[in-house]
């Protein structure tokens, strides 16, 4: 026990001696959480619309004013030709071009279809389909209005009334979803990179030889390397939770001790991963690249940005070895839905198993001889 205490002391001194690392460890993640949570949104609040109105009638203007009043659209300009409109799209100054046929009003009066064309910049496919859906809903609305005016007696009410309720996040606020995920991400980056760089740093600077000739046992050395980062990362999580609660007003519905319990097991996996990488590499650059490689894959597959259910089967199976996916899922469940331990017991046991095997592997791989 005493040996471990000395190693711990050494590690802490080493971490905090480097004054410039302290803001990197504690301040930057919080700033990132604050900034990034606001950026990560798929909501389309403001489609920049331009209009080529060839009809110029009361009818066309009443349709246009519907777009103008909608909170989803901002009317940027009127154009005179099709080429002009496309030019706006090319320059990236507009997202959507609405074209009204010259005979729009006369067609409507003759009882024919008034023609409307929508051109959407679709490089971002999912945003484009949303913008299109908003435009369509305005057009159908207008259509309905025309129908009511024309056939006052026709039944336009829908025979099935659909009520919707969005649980856990009634206003569909994207931040509520992203903050718990980004929180996991930051804790992971800190944990994985600090631990991943640690042993390899001693290797590169040659100080590991000095430790190797001392009577310290393998496991003592490993515990000494793990514990400091484990404590730092948990501390970081606590700061992050406070920020989430106070700044973003995210309700933490579940039990906080439970969250920390899961987090402490999860961190063992991440730190184990870092240590394993550390024992397998010779230079910090290598260690960093390998950590980065796995991090990017883990993050993208974890369901942080895109839903896991939509991924192909093989990608979902890859997630079985993805610790980030496990913890993001549990974290969102606890924070947003107030899930209890019973709701994710299996996932938790998987994490425990993961932690045990990866730590065993790391201790086994670490050789006291170089």
């Amino acid at each position: 026990m005493r040996t471990i205490r000395f190693i711990l002391q050494k590690e802490f001194i080493q971490i905090f001696r480097d004054k410039s690392m302290i803001p990197i460890i504690f301040v930057i993640p919080v700033v990132q959480l604050l900034i990034l949570s606001f950026t990560a949104t798929f909501e389309i609040k403001n489609t920049r619309l331009i209009i080529w109105d060839q009809s110029r009638t009361i009818d066309s203007r009443s349709l246009i004013s519907k777009f103008d009043r909608s909170p989803f659209f901002s009317l940027e300009a009127y154009v005179e030709t099709y080429e002009q409109g496309i030019e706006w799209l090319k320059k990236g100054k507009a997202d959507q071009l609405l074209i009204l046929d010259p005979s729009f009003a006369t067609d409507l009066q003759m009882g024919e279809k008034g023609k409307v064309m929508l051109v959407t910049d679709a490089i971002n496919g999912s945003a484009a389909s949303l913008m299109n859906a908003y435009a369509m809903s305005i057009l159908t609305d207008y259509n309905k209005q025309l129908l009511v005016a024309k056939y006052p007696l026709a039944k336009t009410a829908e025979p099935v009334e659909l009520r919707s309720s969005h649980w856990y996040n009634p206003e569909l606020d994207y931040k509520t979803y992203m903050v718990p995920g980004i929180l996991v991400l930051l804790v992971t980056i800190i944990g994985m990179f600090l631990s991943g760089m640690n042993i390899v740093k001693e290797k590169e600077l040659g100080t590991i030889e000095q430790i190797n000739v001392t009577p310290i046992k393998k496991y003592q050395f490993m515990i000494g390397k793990l514990l400091p980062f484990w404590i730092i990362a948990l501390f970081e999580l606590a700061i992050g939770l406070v920020v989430a609660r106070l700044v973003f007003g995210i309700p933490i519905l579940g039990s906080v001790p439970l969250l920390f319990g899961v987090a402490s097991v999860y961190l063992l996996v991440i730190l184990g991963f870092g240590l394993l990488i550390s024992t397998l590499t010779d230079t910090m650059q290598q260690a960093m690249f390998i950590s980065w490689f796995f991090m990017v894959i883990f993050i993208l597959l974890s369901g942080l940005f895109t839903p896991v259910e939509s991924m192909p089967q093989w990608a979902q199976q890859l997630n079985l070895i993805n610790p980030i996916a496990y913890f993001i899922r549990i974290n969102r469940m606890i924070m947003l839905k107030g899930s209890a331990f019973g709701d994710f017991a299996n996932t938790f046991y998987a994490l425990v198993l993961y932690a045990t095997s990866i730590l065993t592997l790391a201790v086994w791989r670490y050789r006291k001889v170089s």
């Binding site: 990034l36 051109v119 760089m197």
Partner: protein
Amino acid sequence: MKGFVLKEFLHIFRDRRTMLILFGMPIVQVLLFGFAITNEINNAQIAILDESKDEMTLAITDKILSSGYFHLASVLTDRNQIEPAFREGVIKEVVIFEPNFSQRFGKENQAHMQIITDASDPNTANLLYNYTNAIIRDYTSKSTQLATPPIQIGIETTMQYNPELKGVFMFVPGTITILLMLISAMMTSISIAREKELGTLEVLLVSPLKPWQIIIGKVIPYILLSFINAVIILVLAYSVFAMPVRGSLVLLLLESILFIVMALSLGIFISTVSKTQQQAMMLSMFVLMLPTILLSGFIFPIENMPLPLQIISNINPSRWFIIIIKNIMLKGLGFGYFWKETLILVAMALFFVAMSVKKFNIRLSK
């Protein structure tokens, strides 16, 4: 000078593991992005609570399940089961039919359904609700025998540049940017910081080589590496995902080189301000990686962010480079459309070079 560049090359290529990752990474990432990362919904797990169980509710259920978007995970019998089902986290949506559904539909022409979504993921919740809504509307409009009045407006939609709404169109430019940024900025900053930490930089400085020669020598191998990587990604995007290069390929490659040079000078700048490898690494990780992913318009459109962040994103070089790539590859535009973005990148590169030279000289005079 030639010998020095050669030495740097050997240094980098000797490290097999790093090499493997450097060239393996773009391939794995592009494939992952192309195949796995999608915002579309398919096979969402839903539950159905049918308090009516008549032919009409069964028909609607059938319609919903055969659409391909949904997969029936469980059949509920009681409203109290909804909450636990959501808490387990598998089910994303519950569809509820009220009792005597088809009777009320026939007699009163007003039947009720309820859709509850797990909106802890708001994007998916919204999409699921819209899909379900569309399916039900489609069903009712077909089953009502009333002569529905004709539709008054004919709408024609065009999806410009990406008619099939492919996700890769969005992700490939972003992936190129991330990888170039990573390889160029992170690798240089760390390798120079490493020489500092190990003390070998001093050895170089007392050699007859001039400081700028040392820097150039360090940078050349990375320019080559990054460039090869950019080409690999482009070839993959073109051959596997049929992503077009509608504009000039030469221009695209030239702009890539400009971005690489900018990233390298940023990397050198980071290495001059940090004392240890670890510092350089953490700085590039936090200052470069997450903003490059999130503040560049790679995944999330910049126009939807709060105004202060939109302003901050202006100092993010990746943002400008992504616009350039999209303009060339997808819109097929000429230089006239993005000379401003190019100019911004040039200015940033010059700025970082100037800052690093200043820092570097101070170091020497000490």
